[in-house]
């Protein structure tokens, strides 16, 4: 018996507790299921594991940059920097294994739900498979502490599966208006802002009268689309300005911790750039393991659910209204920066501008807003995203302080919704003791089933004319003549082998 226990304990500590090893195993299984050649299977598995390790390094660099930023800006406005008892890096160290298992199990449950309820859309936005799993596990651990790993994994898998299945379904009628077809669904955690942007935007204007494509933006704004550049610039400028007002001691201390001999102004510049560098490293790591895992997930879903449609990342809607993309982003950033000033002035919280989250969800909400309310809708959609990000970050930081507070600064609108739902229902469930954790998935699955039934009864909304869009920056658009009809069911793609020609 001792031997068995020893083996189980070894597995728990070294396999199921180690996110890098687990992601490696999941990738390996995926590649084998796809019958990838041996050398590619080995290479792909190694790339995935290295990707996870790079992600950890990125998180460390990012977290350092984040705390420098918070220390300086807090000092400048005379507040205490936001406090935390744990970090994202430590959280992934202790609960990363659960996160990896939630991705795999949650995706399987998602496929079962899609198949059972015939909802069609398969969630293929890989980085959000990862981050939603992180947010859900963190929210459960915040309320219930360390339940057994399998309890956490079981409950969290059901929660993420309900979200991944329901979110594209809720947005589907609006997507038909945005893209003018039903080729693919929308799978991004900006859904809440996009939904409200469309609904509220539609009241403020109309697409026919106020289409964003009549608006021209200055060419010079276009470099902001590179998130590395926009993050470095915005964070760097704010740090340097804040240093003028910050206590010299605070800046000196931070600078000395980095390099004894460095001038504190040069340190400020480097701190801003390191923040951007950390995010770039973090994203590079995530990209590396996703590139191996997502194709396997896609392959499995196509086998298990014939006729399913992919639900895709936010940029898939950007080509339908490129000017709305920039309007949404600018509007979100403006609202956020104003609120950053307001929150500091009233002494509530020192916000960190999350440029990536201002860009992608802001842009998506802008595109949805434009589809229903023209440029007014785009501005409103982006603004709604700015509101969510500002209030979300300020409120959720404290609630995440025992697990991964940095998530508050990396979140899209839906992340906050998931935190509210999981922690809210979880707090009620906690009154029943540890078993109460199951209340969370039960409630969410009931919501899911009811919504799905209602969506079926209402039926599909009629298809709309596609929006068309030129790039706002006069980029050559060679693809206006794209045909958008007649290939919805995805079954005929393999019958074109006879067109093959030799290179």
């Amino acid at each position: 018996m001792e031997l068995v226990e020893g083996v189980l304990e070894f597995l728990a500590n070294n396999i199921f507790g180690e996110v890098a090893i687990l992601i490696g195993i999941i990738t390996l299984v995926g590649l084998i299921l796809q019958r990838t050649p041996v050398e590619e299977t080995v290479a792909g598995t190694l790339r995935a594991v290295i990707g996870v390790l790079i992600l950890f390094i990125g998180v460390d660099v990012f977290t350092e940059g984040l705390s420098s930023f918070q220390a300086i800006v807090s000092s400048a406005v005379g507040l205490e920097p936001p406090q935390a008892d744990n970090t994202l890096g430590d959280f992934l160290g202790t609960h990363g294994g659960s996160v990896a298992l939630v991705i795999a199990l949650g995706f399987l449950v998602h496929l079962i739900l899609v198949r059972l309820f015939n909802t069609r859309y398969v969630y293929l936005t890989g980085h959000l498979l990862f981050w939603i799993a992180v947010v859900t596990v963190a929210s459960i651990v915040e309320i219930f502490g360390d339940l057994g790993q399998w309890t956490i994994v079981g409950a969290a898998s059901l929660v993420v599966a309900a979200y991944w299945t329901l979110q594209p379904l809720v947005l589907a009628p609006m997507m038909r208006k945005v893209t003018g077809s039903d080729d693919f669904g929308f799978a991004h955690t900006s859904a809440l802002a996009a939904y409200l942007g469309g609904k509220i935007g539609g009241k403020a204007g109309s697409y026919e009268q106020h289409d964003t494509e009549g608006v021209r933006l200055p060419q010079r704004l276009s470099f902001f689309k590179d998130v590395n550049v926009s993050t470095a610039l915005v964070i760097g400028v704010i740090i340097l300005v804040a240093m003028v007002f910050a206590e010299v001691d605070v800046a000196q201390e931070q600078a000395a911790a980095y390099d004894e001999d460095l001038n504190r102004w040069v340190w400020g510049l480097i701190a801003g750039l390191r923040f951007a560098a950390g995010i770039a490293i973090l994203l590079y790591g995530v990209r590396m393991f996703l590139a191996e895992i997502v194709p396997a997930f896609k392959g499995i879903s196509e086998k298990v659910i014939p006729g399913s449609r992919p639900a895709l990342d936010a940029p898939a809607v950007f080509p339908f209204a490129p000017t709305a993309v920039m309007l949404g982003f600018i509007s979100a950033t403006a609202v956020f920066l104003v609120l950053m000033g307001v929150f500091a002035a009233i002494g509530w919280f020192v916000l960190v501008p999350p440029m990536i989250m201002l860009f992608f969800p802001g842009a998506a909400a802008g595109v949805f807003g434009n589809a229903f309310g023209g440029w007014r809708g785009a501005v409103i959609g982006g603004g709604i995203n700015g509101l969510f990000l500002a209030f979300g970050q300020a409120i959720s930081w404290g609630y995440l302080s025992d697990t991964a507070p940095e998530l508050a600064t990396l979140a899209d609108p839906d992340w906050y919704l998931i935190m509210v739902l999981v922690m809210g229902i979880g707090a009620l469930g906690a009154l029943l003791g540890e078993m109460g954790v199951w209340l969370v998935p039960v409630v969410l699955l009931v919501v899911f089933v009811v919504w799905t039934m209602m969506a079926k009864r209402v039926g599909a909304e009629p298809e709309a004319e596609p929006l068309s869009g030129d790039s706002p920056f006069d980029a050559p658009d060679v693809s206006r003549a794209v045909r958008r009809d007649g290939h919805g069911d995805g079954a005929q793609d393999d019958d074109q082998g006879d067109e093959r020609s030799e290179r």
Binding site: L124, T125, G126, H127, L128, D183, F184, H188, S222, K225, D226, V227, N228, V229, A280, L283, Y284, V286, R287, L290, A291, V294, P295, K298, P310, L312, D313, A314, P315, A316, F318, P319, F320, P322, V325, I356, F359, F360, D470, S471, F473, D474, A475, P476, D477, V478, S479, R480, V482, R483, R484, H487, D493, Q496, G497, E499, R500, S501, E502, R503
Partner: protein, 100 residues
């Protein structure tokens, strides 16, 4: 480039290099298989794409505008799931270069 036994080096590009560019990569791979073209396709972000040698860059208009000239062929797509349009665009461009 172009000893004809070397696979083509293709980049699919999006803002961060994780989501839509990965979808695009899988579609490009599928289309090239139909066309019988051997290629290594990699998904990446706009910043990194600048430092990577490639024969073909594929992305949406938001990004391809500033990537012109970084590769002999730059293909701009509108609908991420329209594989037929992607196939036509790639076929035409590869013919032009004499790679097909």
């Amino acid at each position: 480039m172009s000893a004809s036994d070397e696979p083509l080096r293709i980049l699919s590009v999006c803002g961060v290099g994780m989501g839509s560019s990965l979808m695009l990569r899988m579609n490009v791979e599928e289309v090239l298989k139909r066309l019988g073209v051997r290629a290594r396709v990699e998904a990446t972000d706009v910043s990194s794409a600048r430092s990577m040698q490639a024969d073909v860059i594929v992305g949406q208009g938001l990004h391809t505008g500033e990537l012109q000239g970084l590769a002999p062929v730059v293909v701009t797509i509108t609908n991420f799931m329209d594989k037929d349009a992607l196939q036509r665009q790639l076929e035409e461009a590869l013919h032009e270069q004499g790679w097909l």
